[in-house]
């Protein structure tokens, strides 16, 4: 089921549309949309990372926001130490990956459910440490980069990145890079090994795949995505607090990947879009009287997806084909 040519143009059309949005929306009443979409893009970056673990490897990770937090705090602290954006970004990514490796070394030998529990625990520990380590993180008050004289502006060649629209483009580029990385990994020897592990770990092991090593690679790379997104977030907000990295956020990330279609890159992007934008749209549509119902409606929508479209909204090619075959067999 190869995509027809016109469908292969879809990503480029979507990219072009997103690229021209800021000038169109500038000075209109919808200019806040750019900021919202920038946030969506950051979550897309994080969710693409999580998709490597949840979608490709089939492991449940309930504490993924921890690595977004580690990226954000690393960037904040390094910037306050006077280090400029790009080296700090590289360092934030490496720090996030290093913590991920430390977490993965003991837990990746465990099977399924234990991994979910340990990652959940790690997510909470990270948040609690950030909240209490006053001397470094300034505790619940957070770190502000605005008032710090050491912080250097974010530059790409002559482009100074400062406005919402600037960050929007930076994030757009980041998402594109992450999509390319995801797709290339998926269609490689490593990506096939990940999917084999997801399908049947025992058979994969006895067909010669080093399970723990392959899991470790996916696990650690996923943190690079989260670390990069967190680092950009820290510079864009100029402010980080532990409140942004709760267990709830980690759960929503898993929901985004699952709703969109596990293992599917476009599915993940769509899942993020839906989970983040539907409550926003509902907020505007429902009006003040009903606005507090929006998470209830959202929950109902989640249940409906789980019941009627368990493979996700845009499943990976393979999963959708099985469902077709299963339906044809009925």
């Amino acid at each position: 089921m190869r995509l027809p040519f016109k469908h292969r143009a879809v990503p480029f059309i979507a990219l072009a549309v997103f690229a021209i949005l800021p000038p169109i929306l500038k000075n209109s009443e919808f200019s806040y949309v750019i900021r919202l979409l920038g946030l969506v893009g950051l979550y897309m970056t994080v969710a693409l990372g999580l998709n490597l673990v949840v979608g490709f490897l089939g492991l449940l990770d309930l504490g993924f926001m921890a690595f977004y937090a580690i990226g954000a705090y690393s960037m904040a602290l390094l910037s306050m130490a006077g280090i400029s954006f790009w080296p700090a970004l590289a360092a934030a990514i490496i720090i996030a990956m290093a913590f991920r490796a430390l977490l993965g070394a003991p837990v990746l030998r465990l099977r399924g459910d234990y991994l979910a529990i340990v990652t959940l625990g790690f997510g909470e520990i990270t948040r609690i440490v950030l909240n209490n380590w006053d001397s470094v993180t300034n505790g619940p008050k957070g770190l502000s980069l605005l008032t710090n004289a050491n912080v250097k502006p974010v530059r790409l060649f002559n482009w100074v990145i400062s406005t919402n629209a600037d960050y929007y483009y930076l994030i757009l580029i980041t998402v594109v890079v992450c999509v390319i990385v995801s797709e290339r990994l998926k269609n490689s020897r490593i990506g096939r090994a990940w999917m084999a592990i997801r399908e049947d770990e025992t058979a994969a092991r006895l067909t010669g795949i080093q399970i723990t090593r392959m899991k470790m690679i996916g696990f650690v790379i996923s943190a690079a995505f989260a670390g990069a997104a967190g680092a950009i977030f820290a510079r864009w907000e100029s402010f980080v607090t532990p409140e942004s990295f709760t267990f709830w956020e980690s759960v929503m990330l898993v929901a985004m990947v699952v709703i969109g279609g596990m293992g599917s890159v476009p599915g993940t992007l769509i899942g993020v879009g839906i989970v983040m934008l539907v409550p926003e749209v509902l907020r505007n549509v429902l009006g003040t009287a009903l606005v507090s119902w929006r998470y209830f409606l959202f929950g109902v929508a989640l249940v409906l997806v789980a019941v009627y479209r368990p493979q996700g909204i845009w499943p990976s090619r393979r999963l959708s084909r099985t469902t077709e075959a299963e339906e044809a067999a009925k």
């Binding site: 290339r184 490689s188 096939r192 399908e199 010669g208 790379i221 393979r318 084909r321 099985t322």
Partner: protein
């Protein structure tokens, strides 16, 4: 030349002695069978050979190298591959991709080549797909290359498992009940496939309950019962061994049942 030599192999699960003092050797190039009643320890034996379990006692030598206690991927790389009693395919991957997984241990590309799309990466990807197609052609599944493995008919899934194992370039192929659930016709086709694999120089050890097939293809038969090896020899030697008949039929058998053994 002895390819596989197993000495005093023992494995217990709690109080149950699944295997005890098993001695067995397999010559390079032969087709050997491992038979025995249900629960005799045949699959446990395969699991010890392939590194799923570590033996409690004994040694396993594979072409002059100790392999007991080594991890499965190390053993596969040394040239020992297997199939499973209950088919274990990667159902949501295509038939071709299943065989490509078998090439994993013979190829090297990791992160950077895949991310940068280097020429070496494409060369290796082509090599992987090409040799996977050759294996599919060998077992007669090439025309299903782009189907999902889970959608293949039963006999096809069995052959796909064999193709995946062959893709790892084994010197010894372990087949765990390859004809289980097959029709007579499919089983007869499998005999042809086994002979062709053997002709390629791959040694085969087969767990099988279809005695007609065992007697037809194997040069040597090893018999397990309650975790103990009770006999070995040519098919006809084993067939006429009273201990084997007793293991299968109980102590009070009559001769007509013995002749049935060969034709069931």
């Amino acid at each position: 030349m002895i390819l596989l030599k197993v000495q005093k192999l023992g494995k217990s699960f709690g109080g149950l002695k699944a295997l005890q003092d098993v001695e067995l050797s397999i010559n390079a190039g032969e087709i050997a069978s491992l038979i025995g009643p249900n629960g005799a320890g045949k699959t446990t034996f395969f699991n010890l050979l392939t590194g799923v379990y570590k033996p409690d006692e004994g040694e396993i030598d594979f072409s002059g190298e100790r392999i007991d206690g080594r991890p499965p991927h190390w053993i596969v790389k040394r040239g020992l591959a297997r199939t499973f009693q209950n088919i274990r395919l990667f159902n949501h991957m295509t038939v071709l991709e299943n065989v490509m997984i078998g090439r994993h241990c013979r190829t090297r590309s990791e992160l950077l080549p895949a991310l940068l799309h280097t020429p070496a990466f494409f060369r290796e990807e082509r090599e992987i797909a090409q040799s996977a197609r050759e294996r599919l052609n060998f077992v007669g599944l090439l025309k299903y290359a782009d189907e999902l493995a889970g959608n293949l008919p039963y006999g096809g899934q069995r052959r796909l498992e064999i193709a995946r194992a062959l893709a790892t370039e084994p010197r010894l192929l372990l087949l765990d009940e390859p004809t289980a659930g097959m029709s007579q016709v499919e089983a007869a086709e499998l005999v042809g496939l086994l002979n062709r694999i053997s002709a390629e120089g791959v040694t085969i050890l087969l767990i099988e309950h279809r005695m007609s097939l065992v007697m037809r293809v194997s040069q040597k038969v090893h018999v397990l019962d309650h975790g103990v090896k009770i006999a070995e020899g040519t098919p006809s030697q084993v067939q006429s061994d009273p201990r084997v008949c007793e293991a299968y039929l109980g102590a009070n058998y009559d001769n007509s049942e013995i002749s049935n053994l060969g034709h069931s």
